[in-house]
């Protein structure tokens, strides 16, 4: 049995109130041709590591723990190996915020959840379909119209050695509501995890969002963030991705109402022989939308990164303003970066810009810093940090940025080419 056949087999056994939508995913999977290097969206990413994956679950000596982020006072929701550890029934929540799982959702919430599940996320994402079929714990975050939830909601997903996990999150932000959501996924040992989140931003809703995809080493990870923006909604999203032996994240932003605003900053940082594949697709389906997307990547050693950024301006989406910029820094001659910005424009009164560059840290810059007594490795960290600093500084949540900074510096040390 192939890996995909196993998924379908296991998916058929899932039995809950999402089964009707899951069965659509199974049907789509049955009709899927397994991607190869000739499949455009997988051209630079080999799935061999997944095809050959053998998982032997081992129990960690100590139960993994989640560190609080200093000064953040976040509401933490924790998945370990796809299972929600947080008891959603015992959370004390601010007014207007509702958090449920499959079991606790009321009939009304089930209706809303069903209308969102696999509806915002495009059907073309193979591992999104896998997640549709297999996610056994689904977190549903619902924010009432007009509610401003000040406390950041932090969703952490850990994968440990030998485990396969699929977690799913649905977030509905009501009209004129505000929220801040941090998604953090990590794991370093041999594991397979998928994590997909669908966000529905109501009229004039505001979402501050972070996806910290920090899987490294042997972990295999497929993730997705899919946003639907209604009239006047605003999204400010930051993606930070490390690489692992196989890692892919798909981000979709759909401007489904007029005057919606999206800002997406993304950073990927890779060392050793890690790989990351980041695809972003911005659909401007309605007029007067704006998108500002800045993606920066640093690739060291034998690592490889793929970035594909597509902006699609639909017929009639006049007065759209969209800009996409991808800059890369290559630390080693053995590293590889494949970047492809794509613009597809079917409206004639729009402003659209894109660009992609790949540069190297110049020996001259290194020499200059070293000639002032700064060690080579420290100079590399400074130059690397300098490259992404602008995007980190733009993170609205500076507590989170402060927490992230030493981790990024440690990451740069790992990325150093010895």
């Amino acid at each position: 049995m192939t890996w995909l056949q196993q998924v379908i087999h296991r998916g058929q056994a899932m039995n809950d109130w999402l089964s009707p939508v899951r069965s659509q995913a199974l049907e789509a999977l049955r009709n899927t041709t397994w991607p190869t290097r000739r499949t455009e969206s997988w051209k630079y990413t080999s799935l061999a590591a997944l095809e050959q994956l053998k998982l032997t679950a081992t129990e960690p000596a100590t139960q993994p723990s989640i560190d609080a982020i200093a000064g953040l006072n976040s509401l933490d929701l924790v998945f370990i190996n796809g299972e929600l550890q947080t008891d959603v029934n015992s959370l004390s929540l601010p007014a207007g915020l509702h958090i449920n799982n499959l079991q606790s959702a009321s009939a009304v919430q089930r209706v809303i959840a069903t209308s969102m599940f696999a509806q915002i996320k495009p059907k073309r994402h193979l591992f999104g379909l896998v997640n549709d079929a297999l996610a056994n714990d689904v977190l549903f975050i619902d924010i009432d119209n007009g509610s401003h939830i000040v406390q950041p909601i932090r969703i952490v997903s850990l994968s440990t050695d030998g485990h396969e996990s699929h977690h799913r999150v649905l977030v509905r932000i009501g009209n004129e509501a505000k929220a801040s959501i941090i998604e953090q996924t990590q794991g370093e040992h041999t594991s397979l995890s998928t994590g997909f989140t669908e966000f529905d931003l109501g009229q004039q809703a505001y979402l501050e969002h972070y996806r910290l995809a920090m899987h490294t080493h042997q972990a295999i990870y497929f993730g997705g963030c899919h946003f639907c923006l209604h009239h006047n909604a605003e999204l400010n999203s930051t993606f930070i991705g490390y690489g692992s032996q196989l890692s892919r994240t798909d981000i979709d932003i759909i401007h489904n109402g007029e005057h919606a605003k999206a800002k997406l900053n993304a950073v990927y940082l890779l060392g050793e022989s890690e790989h990351i594949n980041l695809h972003s697709t911005i659909e401007h389906a309605k007029p007067h939308g704006t998108t500002e997307e800045n993606v920066r990547g640093i690739v060291g050693d034998k690592a490889s990164a793929v970035f594909n950024g597509r902006i699609h301006i639909h017929r009639g989406a006049q007065k759209t303003q969209a800009a996409l910029n991808n800059r890369n820094l290559l630390l080693s001659r053995r590293g590889q970066i494949n970047t492809k910005p794509e613009l597809e424009i079917y409206a004639d009164d729009v402003q659209c810009a894109h660009g992609a560059t790949v540069a190297e840290i110049t020996d001259e810059a290194l020499y200059y810093l070293r000639s002032r007594g700064i060690s080579r490795s420290q100079a590399l960290v400074m130059l690397n940090f300098g490259f992404i600093q602008e995007l980190i500084n733009q993170m609205p949540n500076q507590q989170l940025a402060k927490w992230l900074e030493p981790q990024l510096r440690a990451r740069f040390k790992e990325m150093e080419v010895r």
Partner: protein, 254 residues
């Protein structure tokens, strides 16, 4: 302080230094002049340890240490400072972070405590004032968008901040107007304390009117061909290098 014996060095397999000798005692100011392509800048780069500048022969003793065996950063930490002719721009790394990191690298080397952000800022502000750079320069990227004169003053600022024992100034006067030249010269003179030594590389006598040298060396074809006192620089200014039997025609600087 510094003893250079029979130094031979090449860049991209082209011999630039051909048996250079130089002896510098603490507190001395040595001016190095010479036609383009003589190897003046190369000397600065070789002493600082720049990659691509290969030493073929000779010895360099710096305060009792074999300079040529040290890494770039070790040389700097031991007190060697090169003020660059064309300082590079590094957007993304702030001047403040850069200078604080380098001051602390030096302090750590000397076994001293790192300066706190506030302590550093106090010191940096004073020097900013001295070299007449506005304070917002600290927040900007290293040399990012600086004018030629500002870059040179930034080099002098780093020199004052890092308190080196040997300062090599590579054409710190080129491209400066008279006012900026005075700021640079005053900055250098403020650091003359009888112990700190200077190598002043220049094309023009003008700078030496402000920074009075103890010795003037004429470099040609990669070695010192004549040494004298300040009057030698005046003679060069008046007569060119022809009196030394050297061709004064312009070549591209190595």
């Amino acid at each position: 302080m510094l003893t250079i014996k029979n130094l031979h060095a090449c860049v991209e397999q082209k011999n630039i230094l051909n048996g250079l000798n130089l002896n510098i005692k603490p507190g001395e100011v040595h001016a190095i002049m010479g036609p383009n392509g003589a190897g003046k800048s190369t000397l600065g780069y070789v002493l600082s340890g720049r990659e691509g500048y290969e030493v073929l022969d000779g010895q360099v003793d710096f305060q009792g240490h074999n300079l040529l065996e040290m890494t770039i950063e070790e040389r700097a930490r031991k007190g060697l400072f090169l003020a660059f002719q064309y300082p590079i721009e590094i957007p993304g790394v702030s001047n403040m972070e850069f200078m604080k990191e380098s001051v602390n690298a030096m302090r750590q080397h000397r076994g001293e405590e790192r300066l706190t952000a506030a302590e550093f800022l106090k010191k940096a502000k004073e020097i900013c004032k001295q070299v007449q750079l506005p304070l917002d320069f600290l927040k900007r990227g290293v040399n990012e968008g600086f004018s030629g004169g500002e870059k040179k003053r930034n080099e002098i600022m780093q020199m004052i901040l890092l308190e080196p024992s040997l300062c090599i100034l590579d054409e710190s006067d080129s491209g400066l107007d008279v006012d900026a030249l005075q700021i640079v010269a005053n900055g250098v003179n403020s650091q003359r304390d009888g112990k700190r030594s200077f190598i002043v590389i220049t094309h023009y006598q003008r700078l030496l009117d402000y920074i009075e040298p103890d010795f003037v060396h004429i470099l040609a074809n990669g070695k010192v061909v004549k040494t004298g006192d300040a009057s030698l620089a005046k003679q060069v200014e008046k007569e060119g290098y022809a009196f030394l039997g050297l061709d004064n025609s312009e070549e591209v600087t190595a």
